[in-house]
Amino acid sequence: MATVMHVGLNHYLVLSALLFSIGVLGVLLRKNAIVILMSIELMLNAVNLDFVAFSKYSGNIDGQAMVFFVMTIAAAEAAVGLAIAVAVFKRFKEVNISYFEKLKG
């Protein structure tokens, strides 16, 4: 019990794995495009946690720098993703992912 409760690197990794898997499940299951985007953000956050934990436990600052880049890219992704969602919403009055199938050539 003591070893399980005593926090080490693996705890962070397991938490990250759980969050990541939840994100994957969200991407697979939800029909709402915006919620799918949120799930992707969740996955990115899980990875961020990994980076920071490794950074701490290896004493190397590079992990934190990576988090920075992940965050920036996530922000850009959210901006563009939401813009697309807005465009789709304007057209179909709903943001169901199945409407994206209609976007062909």
Binding site: V24, V27, L28, I97, K102
Partner: protein, 638 residues
Amino acid sequence: MNENFLITVLLLSPLLGFLINGFLVRYNNKSHLRAGAIATAAAGISFFSAVSLYFKLLGLGAEERTLHTVFFNWLNIGTLNINMGFTVDPISTVMILIITGVGSLIHLYSVGYMSHDAHPAKFFSYLNLFLFNMLILVLGDNLVLMFVGWEGVGLCSYLLIGFWFDDPEKAAAGMKAFIVNRIGDAGFLLGLFTIFVTFKSVEFSELSKMAFAPEVGVWGPITLATFCLFVGAAGKSAQIPLYVWLPDAMAGPTPVSALIHAATMVTAGIYMIVRLNFMFIAAPTTMHIVAAVGAATALFAASIGLLQTDIKKILAYSTVSQLGYMFLGVGVGAFGAGFFHLMTHAFFKALMFLGAGSVIHGMGGEQEVTKMGGLAKKMPITYKTFLFGWLAIIGTPLFSGFFSKDEILWKAYSSPLGSKFLWMIGVVAAGMTAFYMTRLMCLAFWGTSRVDKSVKVHESPLTMTLPLMILAGLSLMGGWVGVPHIFGPIPNLLEGWLEPVVHDVTSEGSFLEEWMTMTASVALAGFSAFSAYYLYVLNPNLPKEWAQKLKGLYTLVYNKYFVDEIYGWAIVRPLVQLSRGLWAYLDVRIVDRTTYLVSDIVKGTGAGLRLMINGNVQQYALYIVFGVLISLAFIFAR
């Protein structure tokens, strides 16, 4: 200035000229003065660097006269290591002086000659590109780099022969030159491969350090390599059986004929053999072949030249014949003599081509000698300079051609690799040369005028006559650097210059024999020249009567022995038919079917897989997850 800089300028100046004229000047720009000024300046700068390099070399000791520079490492694959390196040594110095010097004069000449052309910038850019490639060819310190230049000049030759590609005949002449040259280049490449496989090196400096034991027999690697290289040389330098392209190449503008097809490119084969003299010397079989082919070409081409009526064709066959001389020279081991003739020939043949160009220019495009005559008065400068060329080529004593030709003939007579038979052929060819050249003079410049009334004959402008005058001077004096020993204690400068790098076969022969052979050839040449004068000036009707009497022989020679027709019938036609057959059966029935089968399989697979790609993004995400799972499973299963 250090040599790296000079070599860089030497090489890059024409390249820069090419780039400026080729890309910065508009295609339809008709300003021949501007394009010509740029190109001539580029060639002039290059010539200046060449002269500087020559003096730099002169300042060094006889054995150290090699400047080497490496720009960068070009290829490094396995044991093959090729640098972009350039060597300036006595041989290449002479070559770059000829190339840039004669080249500059011809550029200058072209400014006048191309003044009425629609695309002068294109023409001058090609000329500059040719100079650049030719310099790479002669300066490259290894066979591969030489091959780069070799192909580059071939390309420029093609482009310039077909410069007026609106005329299908001229375009076809360009293609012919290109294709025949490819056959030779294949030989060159095979030789290159053989050398690399056998000696693990393609660098001249390394190859020359290897001691080659003379090789007897036919199948030794050196013999094989040198033979293959000679095939390449025969293609580039228009020897039997690959000479057919050169006469057709006269379709190009006359300055091109002078620069590429007389003075420089066609001598690349000779240059290559002289460059690799240490290797050819070790392959006597090849040397015999070289000498035999050279002699045969000299005689054969000269005989065709006897009856030609197109002024440029006469000069073209003359070039082929003179090239044959050079091969005869190098073939009997007289590399220095062959190289000497290369140099003098560059002067007087360039002069004669340019003179012919001047005549054509003055006649408004007329090339048939039968429609000329009596031009001496109308075009005095052209006539006088042409006269120098004529005197040089027929071997008038003290003119440049005399020294070089007689040295070759003497070496053919006396060298251990030569024979009296080869000498005989050479002398006969020399006689024929004197005959047809005199005939040309008679028909074009002497005698009565047969010029059409409508043509206003005029002398050419100064930009054209100035190069003629300079070259005339060179035709007279160019030979004085290689005066043979029998004329007393005058030093043979060229021999001394080339000695460190070129190893001639020592010939045996007495003083008396040398005098006798020389007298014989000069006498024969003189007799032929006089008979030509007799036939075409004094009794202009006699040749026609003789042609009637010997109708069969006349037809045969007039039609160039039907060589082109034989090639067409024996090689080209079967090839075309074979290709047709392969297309109809192999390609359509087997290759196409196979490719269709493959494409059908791919299309079928795609049609099947397309069912997976239905636009449902979440399904795609599921595939990604599956992929990740499979990769993870692999990691764990290991």
